[in-house]
């Protein structure tokens, strides 16, 4: 079945937004490769989309991840409205856009200063495959920027 341009735009969700986060969590829970890579992971993570010249305000995405499942996904413009997370992955909006378009590798993004990661490095280094799958999942969301 052909999808028209108009229909495609109806399917697309704006990044970042509550709708995008909902769609992302759904896709993450459907991703068997992520489930496999994160089967022993326990911990929540906060994605911080920082404002830049293309985006006017900071946005926050909270994900409660447990044994390969996203148990809760929340979006807010304010950090105060969200639980505190064990890990934070932050970067400017333009770099998030490149990440979702697969122009930036999530780990290389940190090494090149495009993103910052806070939390237990010992723990996260054992789950780089899961991190990669989280980004791969983001590319599956029909995203409008």
């Amino acid at each position: 079945m052909l999808i028209t341009k108009k229909r495609l735009s109806q399917l697309m969700v704006k990044f970042p937004s509550p709708e995008w986060v909902e769609e992302y969590a759904k896709k993450l829970n459907e991703n068997q490769t992520y489930k496999d890579a994160a089967k022993t992971w326990e911990g929540d993570i906060m994605f911080v989309v920082e404002k830049d010249e293309s985006f006017p305000k900071n946005s926050y995405i909270y994900l409660d991840l447990y044994h390969g499942e996203c148990r809760k996904a929340m979006y807010s413009d304010s950090l105060e409205n969200l639980p505190k997370a064990a890990f934070t992955y932050r970067g400017p909006y333009s770099n998030w856009r490149k990440l979702i378009d697969k122009q930036i590798d999530p780990i290389q993004g940190i090494l090149t200063g495009k993103f910052k990661l806070e939390g237990s490095m010992m723990k996260i280094m054992r789950y780089t495959k899961a991190a990669k799958e989280m980004v791969n999942t983001a590319t599956l969301v029909q995203t409008e920027f």
Binding site: D36, I107, M121, M122, M125, K129
Partner: protein
Amino acid sequence: MWFFRSPEVVFGADALSYLSSLDIKKAVIVTDRFLKQSKVMDKVLMSIPKEVKTMVVADINPEPTFAEMSASLSKIIDFSPDWFIAVGGGSAIDTAKVLFAIYERPDISVYDITPLVNLNLRRKSRLAAIPTTSGTGSECSWAAVVSEEEGRKVELASKEIMPDIAILDPSLVVDLPREQSRNTAVDAITHAIEAYTSTWRNHYSDAFAEKALELILPNLPKVLHEPSDMDAREQIHVGASMAGLSFSNSQIGLAHAMGHALGAVFKLPHGLCVGLFLPSVVELNNDSAADRYSRLNRIFPDRYREKELHSTLRNYFAEIGQPLNVKQAGIDVQRYMSSIDGLVDLASESTGVTTNARDANSEDIRRIFMHVV
């Protein structure tokens, strides 16, 4: 944006004499217990000017744990060196990297040695590495492997633990036993092949990988046949270092992820372990990296070359005596089979899985573990 990082590399005959030109006041020499009383250590000590105060740390076992690595840390702090000089194979050099980092920053944990943390080292000392094997590439890499008590190998990495100077003196490897010459060279071959197909590969890592294989592949059989062939030894020594530069500036892949898991559980030489899985990993990756493997296949000497790289590798490994299955590797097959779940879990946690040429899930990894039975 990406980087190419390298130590200052001093190579060739008499390279060791470069030590005398360095401004060293107090040096900690980190080596393994087998080298402590050896001709190699005598040569190194003779190359250091007499006025330099030295402290030798020689209690390093193969595949050391952090507790073993750091047993001498308080003495080192009291000694307050301005240089660390690593002399040995991968375990000694990796230990020196960890001691150097923790001496510089006693406030950090060994697990902070990741690419994700700015360590701000080199406030008190610097690091030179003198390999006495030709394979680990640790003298040129940003990586260090630490074993954990519970049977896991942790891959540490930071640009800041890359040595300042790597000294490649071929006279230090001429007496390397046959088995160690083969195991370490197989590690280097695996570094080059995995770096060349890593998802983080780049022009620099490509160039070093190709040249490394050009130097190592024709010369390894020569050295195994005639260990005193200094020309062949030197080419392998430089090639192994280039393979180290290659993977350090791209990444390793699945053969290393699986080799680390096997080595951690069965306490086998690292090169033997990664080489055991390399042909099967290349076979798995073939559809994702066919052109690249084809280019590497052409570097192998004609007499080993088949249509596909994984078959060529099996020919080459068979000739040099690198095991192609667990039985040849001297592993008890029953114990191996009963360990596979744990091996799959360990391998799946390695960063090598993330940067492998092809996405590999735990079932792919299990299949390869089974493939070498």
